[in-house]
């Protein structure tokens, strides 16, 4: 058992931290989020240049030899900077599908392009009525000669406005909620019949509603097994949860530090408000919640390779803990900042919104408590 990072991992963290400090300060992020484009392609190119996009791929796949721990480090540091660009969707999710189930040709075509920053992915899994159930798929993919034809709508596809390609879940067999009959496809966003409605999200990201109208893809667009893509979707979703937990605890750490600093400088009744025990105990609780969140991020990251049931329980446990810690820390941070915590000017509200949205990405606290309970009761 070992909880230490290697010196390469420490270097990776330091290089991201420097980049965020120098080029991703809060004011810049705020401006970019409100700009027409909503992101900075040149920042993505820098991520590629620094090796962040290839860090979690093995060398034989065209990466730099890392894995989930590298993803965790990148995600945590990105969380501290409220990074907008779609690292999760491109590297963790599309990268995850490719790593686990990509053919040699698919890996060769996509992984170096991801690591090099040329290819950006979004994950079209949610639908207007599916809520958090990834098996609830009504987008259809009908066999057509050797290939498939896709029809239907995907909802709130984060990062899609920036993406060149989509990973899409579609139904090739069975009923709307059947676990069997889900197949995963890689679809270029500019394929004929794909249309999008792009929009900003409350936490400063961008997303799209995506419509598929008789979109033809070849048999080589399928990633993983036909009709049996769901176990793969669940595995990648658990990996995405691990990265989201890291992003969330990165943000929570900033909120705790900011709130603590504020409590030492803001004076009321002739003294810093941090002198008041009622606030001290709440900040002690925030500190504990943060520590538990970090522990759970490590836990899930280190258990991603365990058998399915253990992996799912780890991911759900972590998502529950991070969801609860996130609520506590975001709400208390705003409260302790008082009126200033309500403003758009401070970063507090921006972390509040991002961490709140993370709670409902890939299943919220209740959804995961239920999954955890069902799994632990056999």
């Amino acid at each position: 058992m070992d909880f230490n990072f290697t010196s390469e991992q420490d270097m990776l963290r330091d290089s991201i931290a420097r980049l965020i400090r120098e080029q991703y300060d809060f004011e810049t992020r705020r401006k970019v989020a409100k700009s027409e484009a909503g992101w900075r392609p040149e920042m993505w190119a820098q991520f590629a240049e620094l090796g962040l996009l290839g860090a979690s791929f093995s060398e034989e796949d065209g990466g730099f030899g890392g894995g989930p721990i590298e993803s965790m480090i990148v995600s945590e540091e990105f969380g501290k900077g409220l990074v907008i660009e779609p690292y999760l969707q491109t590297v963790v999710i599309a990268g995850g599908f490719l790593k686990h189930a990509g053919t040699a040709a698919q890996k060769e075509e996509n992984i170096p392009a991801i690591a090099g920053g040329e290819r950006i992915f979004a994950f079209a899994c949610s639908e207007p009525k599916s809520r958090f159930d990834l098996n609830d798929v009504s987008v259809t993919a009908k066999k057509d000669g050797k290939g498939y034809v896709l029809n239907g709508q995907k909802a709130v596809v984060l990062g899609a406005p920036f993406a060149s390609h989509l990973v899409v879940t579609a139904r090739t067999a069975g009923g709307q909620r059947d676990k069997k009959g889900v197949t995963v496809f890689i679809v270029p966003k500019d394929a004929k019949g794909v249309s999008t409605r792009d929009y900003p999200t409350v936490d400063g990201l961008r997303a799209s509603e995506i419509y598929f109208e008789n979109v033809s893809v070849g048999a080589d667009a399928v990633i993983g097994e036909v009709d049996n893509g769901f176990p793969l979707v669940e595995q990648v979703a658990d990996e995405a949860i691990a990265a989201l937990c890291a992003e969330a605890h990165g943000g929570m750490g900033v909120l705790n530090a900011t709130t603590l600093e504020y409590s030492k400088t803001r004076k009321q009744f002739g003294q810093p408000i941090g002198n008041f025990q009622v606030l001290q105990h709440r900040m002690a609780d925030m500190f504990m919640a943060y520590e538990q969140a970090v522990s759970m991020t490590y836990m899930v990251t280190l258990k991603l390779e365990e058998p399915e049931k253990q992996r799912k329980m780890a991911a759900s446990a972590a998502k529950v803990q991070i969801g609860k810690a996130g609520k506590l820390i975001t709400q208390e941070s705003v409260q302790i900042h008082g009126g200033m915590g309500m403003t758009d000017e401070l970063n507090v509200g921006h972390f509040f919104k991002r961490i709140t949205m993370i709670e409902s990405q890939f299943g919220n606290t209740d959804w995961h408590l239920r999954r955890f309970t069902e799994l632990s009761n056999g």
Partner: protein
């Protein structure tokens, strides 16, 4: 970073498991399950561990410690919990011993430490007083220097297992004129057989006798029994409290407790089905298990820091708060799970032996008393509110 046990660790686990299986007294297991242990039980078990060389795994090797890695210590704790061995009280090996190692003179170390590890002396703690709980520094028990002796007068309270103890370590006021209450306190070792020491039982709401009042009336103690320097006892007292907290998470025992709770909840019926199928109850167990996992990994991170020589800092307050909250929730849910059979009560009645008069399932007998008893955990060892003060001051710098 990884969670893999090395082949050596796995072999170690097997060795510990087999040894506990062969050497833990069966009759002791029986008595512990009925909460009827004696002083001799503790000392016998300590002697057995000592003979194996496992008397004090956490101690440095020079004093008879095992030299185990932090992973091995963790495995040992897990295996003891799994075998439900009698927990060794912390007063001697975990609380006093680190203070002696850090601050006592050579003669004191040579005399007291072996007697702790080999199961000769049973120690208790003389810290709290009727007027000094969380505000420990306001203690009033007085030690006056008269020739070669200190003469101690005053009263300690909440002396856990004081009625078993051979010795007590006592915080006394040696300089009543010091500028601050923290100054002028000394750390003194007292033989419980000294004339003038009197132990009076306190019966707690669970009906048990665990804690006591300890009275000191003109108790003459040789000056050699002072640890470290006169009037600097507060430093040693705080040192001890940090050490006390680092072992206090109780993860391994809590895991066992959750496992037991699950077993009970899968046989207790609610609307004709195991109560574990009741969504409200199942949710409470799930939340408990998730919090316990978070605590476990926080403890593992702390151990990793310690093994790099960074030491258990004030972060150990997190382990104390979260660990005790979880211990309390386990007993609370166990009592909920047993339903109406939480009520029958035999302690102190002629039918106490229980075997003569079994009412309800075995696992229900102690559910309510244990629930009541475990409320102590968020009060002792520095109440959980005091722990939050420590985090605010030492970690957050407030």
């Amino acid at each position: 970073m990884d969670l893999q046990y090395t082949p050596e660790d796995t072999a170690f686990r097997e060795e510990v498991r087999a040894w506990l299986e062969a050497n833990y007294p069966k009759e002791l297991r029986e008595r512990v399950s009925r909460d009827q242990y004696t002083k001799e039980d503790f000392l016998t078990w300590q002697k057995t561990l000592y003979k194996k060389g496992w008397g004090a795994p956490a101690w440095p090797k020079q004093y008879g410690g095992t030299g185990w890695t932090s992973t091995q210590k963790y495995i040992f704790q897990e295996e003891c919990a799994r075998a439900e061995t009698l927990p060794i009280p912390p007063f001697g090996p975990s609380m006093l011993a680190p203070v002696l190692m850090a601050f006592a003179n050579e003669q004191q170390k040579a005399h007291y430490l072996p007697r702790i590890i080999n199961g000769t002396d049973f120690w208790c703690q003389g810290y709290s007083e009727p007027g000094a709980g969380s505000d420990l520094a306001s203690l009033k028990t007085k030690a006056e220097r008269v020739g070669d002796h200190y003469v101690i007068n005053g009263q300690k309270t909440w002396t856990t297992l004081g009625h078993f103890a051979d010795w007590i370590f006592v915080l006394c006021r040696t300089n009543p004129n010091a500028r601050k209450p923290q100054e002028g306190i000394s750390f003194i070792l007292v033989d419980m057989k000294t004339p003038g020491v009197e132990v009076r039982p306190i019966i707690t709401m669970d009906g048990g006798h665990e804690v006591n009042e300890t009275w000191f009336t003109d108790v003459k103690v040789p000056v050699e029994n002072l640890v470290g320097k006169e009037n600097e006892g507060w430093t040693y007292a705080k040192y001890l409290l940090v050490h006390e907290r680092s072992g206090i998470a109780g993860v391994a025992r809590s895991k066992k407790g959750v496992e037991r709770l699950r077993k009970i909840a899968s046989v207790e019926l609610d609307r004709g089905e195991p109560i574990i199928r009741n969504p409200e109850f199942a949710r409470k167990i799930a939340e408990l298990e998730i919090d316990l996992t978070a605590l476990e990994f926080t403890e593992l991170r702390t151990l990793a820091r310690e093994s790099q020589g960074k030491g258990a800092g004030p972060e150990s307050s997190v382990l104390k708060i979260k660990g005790t909250e979880i211990q309390q929730r386990i007993t609370e849910l166990t009592l909920e799970a047993v339903g109406v059979y939480g009520a029958p009560y035999f302690r102190g009645f002629p039918s106490e032996s229980g075997n003569q008069f079994p009412i309800g399932p075995d696992y229900a007998h102690l559910a309510a008393p244990t629930y009541a008893n475990m409320r102590k955990t968020s009060i002792y060892g520095g109440s959980n509110e005091i722990q939050r003060n420590i985090i605010a001051k030492m970690v957050l710098g407030l």
